[in-house]
């Protein structure tokens, strides 16, 4: 069985030898029976034809007989390509570009707009938020910690609820090196509610939710700052003014609950007050800073969650308004009248401005690259059609010597699929290179950090489907042509040429329409990106740098911070040589929170 396919030559030789042996035995026996050698050979030769037939039937007995046909088709296709290298190269490169662009876009599209969080049953996650008509640009709503407790402790619809908030940069000092790090504060049960398992060590739990909370590192941060060293578990790092012990690393696939805001260090919320000098205190009911994600109980719909929790929202609003000084009360009431409680699905993570901003451009781009591929297919189809017209003699002869139209069509499909699959393989390589460029164009460095562009199974499936579709699309015209091929007069110039060119001509309007569409789309898109890239700052930004100094992060109190800043702007200080003409210096001596 192995020999039949992988040592085809040897298998054929063996078959040939076996049948030849049979033939020679026949001749010998005939001679022994008294026939003249000539007569014996003549009789044997008469049987020769049936031998070739027998061979063919033996070949058909091999497992997967269609494989033989497919292999023969592929060999034939390769020979055809070798005779037309120019056409082949154009076709493969055109498709590679088309499929590459589609793969790159689809990867982005899928990662940003479709893919769910890598947690248990992400479809049951919901974000408690609101529609805030006062600030339509903001995504998600914030709640205070006491409000979060009310939601968590007074509902029958959620099996778990956690709150989280990105922090301003944390100053993380490890082995003498300080670095500002993106942090996230979350309630102790975040990982339990989500169902995330650690890549290394352990993740924090409610018992860790204390002023001296242990940090959990993201996989990317662990790789970048600690070189992926597993010994980091148990080591001490200094975060702002606190010393803490690293306990674990989250899996690489888990990049936080908000797309575009990957946290490098996650801490239980109990440490917020000590890390930020009280600014992240949990008791403060006026500080609305938390977002909430919960898990629906089985069988509970999003509407039911919303209905069950709306009274709690109302109570927190009433409570907040009652705590506001009397003069401001009516304004607060007016503000909250424009805020409506809303529960949203959070399977793909919490509401994200990153996703919202990319939504339209990604959809437009996806449609645009789809049209580009379609155009490539139409172009190649007309190219193939004119080739098919040129090959009508070949097709005619093959039909005349007994090939069925189906066999010819299969041969032709093999050719186009070979082209499109080669194009797809090259396309994936192109996507690998162009994906990050696209992403950076659309969303800058943040995007690169937030999104993993390595192709996964879904992407590869998409690409294969694209290749298949492209191959079939390209073949439709030529196949119609083959079906009408005339076995009677392969040598004569019939009206087939005219039929093919008529078909090819009918493709021209489609090509023009698609090209126009793509051109318009590309123009619009370019404008969008231009708008992204060129925001008028109102001043000349060349040679200007901005930097932030946060003395609060290393424990400076207000007095020390003030004297630090007056030193900084003092013209007599030596480092002022670097800043020869400071414009008006504006400094904030905040705590950094």
């Amino acid at each position: 069985m192995w020999n039949a396919w992988f040592r085809r030559r040897r298998w054929e030789q063996s078959l040939d030898a076996e049948l030849r042996f049979h033939l020679e035995q026949m001749i010998e026996d005939s001679i022994a029976a008294g026939l003249s050698p000539d007569e014996a050979r003549r009789r044997a030769r008469r049987d020769l034809g049936s031998f070739e037939l027998a061979k063919d039937e033996c070949r058909d007995q091999r497992p997967f007989p269609w494989l033989a046909d497919a292999a023969a088709d592929a060999r034939f296709a390769l020979r055809t390509f070798a005779r037309a290298p120019g056409f082949t190269a154009v076709a493969v490169v055109t498709l590679a570009l088309g499929i590459g662009a589609n793969t790159a876009m689809f990867t982005l599209f899928h990662r940003v707009l479709v893919q769910m969080l890598p947690v248990t049953q992400p479809e049951r996650l919901v974000e408690l938020g609101c529609v805030n008509a006062n600030e339509p640009d903001k995504v998600g709503c914030r709640a205070s910690y006491p409000a979060f407790q009310m939601y968590r402790d007074n509902n029958q619809v959620l099996s778990g609820l956690f709150a989280f908030a990105p922090t301003s940069d944390l100053n993380v000092i490890h082995l003498g090196g300080a670095e500002l790090t993106k942090g996230l504060l979350a309630t102790g049960d975040m990982y339990t509610v989500l169902g995330v398992t650690p890549a290394l060590g352990r993740l924090f739990n409610p018992a860790d939710d204390a002023p001296s909370a242990p940090p959990v590192l993201s996989h990317a941060y662990w790789q970048r700052r600690f070189g992926g060293d597993p010994r980091v578990i148990g080591q001490s790092v200094r975060i702002n003014t606190q010393v803490a012990t690293v306990i674990g690393v989250t899996p690489a696939a888990f990049r936080g609950v908000t797309l575009g805001e990957p946290a490098e260090i996650t801490l239980a919320m109990g440490s917020g007050a000590s890390l930020f000098h009280g600014a992240r205190s949990l008791e403060n009911g006026a500080n609305q800073w938390l977002r909430m994600i919960g898990r629906r109980k089985p069988g509970v719909s999003i509407q039911q969650v919303e209905a069950a929790l709306t009274p709690i929202f109302q109570r927190t609003v009433d409570h907040l308004i009652s705590s506001i000084p009397t003069g401001m009360e009516s304004r607060a009431r007016a503000y909250f009248s424009r805020v409506q409680f809303q529960v949203q699905p959070a399977a793909a993570g919490g509401a994200s401005s990153f996703r919202r901003d990319l939504d339209r451009p990604l959809r437009t781009l996806m449609a645009a690259v789809g049209a580009v591929l379609l155009m490539a297919c139409v172009n190649l189809a007309s190219l193939l059609l004119s080739r098919a017209a040129g090959r009508r003699r070949e097709f005619g002869i093959r039909l005349a010597i007994g090939a069925g139209a189906g066999r010819l069509i299969r041969q032709f499909l093999t050719e186009t699929l070979l082209i499109s699959v080669t194009g797809a393989v090259l396309g994936v390589a192109i996507a690998q290179v162009s994906g990050p460029v696209l992403l950076k164009m659309a969303s800058g460095e943040i995007g690169l950090q937030a999104i993993d562009l390595t192709p996964d199974l879904t992407v590869l499936f998409f690409t294969s489907a694209m290749a298949l579709l492209a191959g079939v699309l390209m073949s439709i015209g030529p196949i119609l042509h083959i079906r009408n091929a005339d076995p009677q007069n392969p040598m004569r110039d019939g009206n087939q040429k005219r039929a093919a060119s008529k078909l090819a001509r009918s493709l021209i309007p489609a090509q023009v329409a698609l090209a126009t569409l793509v051109l318009i789309g590309a123009g619009l898109l370019l404008r969008t990106f231009e708008n992204f890239a060129r925001v008028d700052l109102g001043f000349r930004s060349e040679n200007r740098i901005t930097f932030t100094v946060s003395p609060g992060l290393v424990g400076y109190d207000t007095t020390r911070a003030k004297s630090f800043f007056s030193d900084l702007t003092d013209a007599s200080m030596p480092y002022r040589a670097c800043f020869p003409r400071p414009s008006r210096t504006k400094l904030w001596a905040g705590s950094g929170a």
Binding site: F21, A54, E57
Partner: protein
């Protein structure tokens, strides 16, 4: 078209599927090459069964793929290389099964052919 009884041909046509069984049987006697199988069948059946190579070899390849026959290149008595087939364990089992089935089929068919009008109620 006149209706004439069609006489059974002198060279019995092989029923579909019986060729495989006969090949298995011949090979079971001793390892043989393809040409010898034709000879033996002819000989044993008193010249009634003629198998054409056009049906023999595909059948041999089919049985080999099913794992019932094991091929081996060996020298013949005349000193020439030929492909000899022998029965595998699975082949032996298959032969038993088919012989049994054949027996049942034969007795069933002869029962029908021997039926007389008087026996029907």
């Amino acid at each position: 078209m006149s209706k004439q009884p069609v006489s059974g041909s002198t060279e019995a046509e092989l029923l579909q599927g019986t060729l495989d069984m006969l090949i298995l049987k011949i090979v079971a006697l001793e390892p043989v090459h393809g040409y010898a199988i034709v000879q033996r069948l002819q000989q044993i059946s008193n010249d009634a069964l003629h198998v054409r190579q056009g049906s023999l070899y595909p059948a041999l390849y089919r049985l080999e793929n099913k794992g019932w026959l094991k091929p081996e290149w060996k020298a013949t008595e005349g000193g020439r290389q030929a492909k000899f087939y022998s029965l595998t364990k699975a082949g032996r089992k298959q032969l038993e099964l088919e012989t049994e089935g054949w027996g049942r089929l034969c007795s069933a068919i002869s029962l029908v052919l021997q039926a007389k009008a008087g026996e029907l109620k």
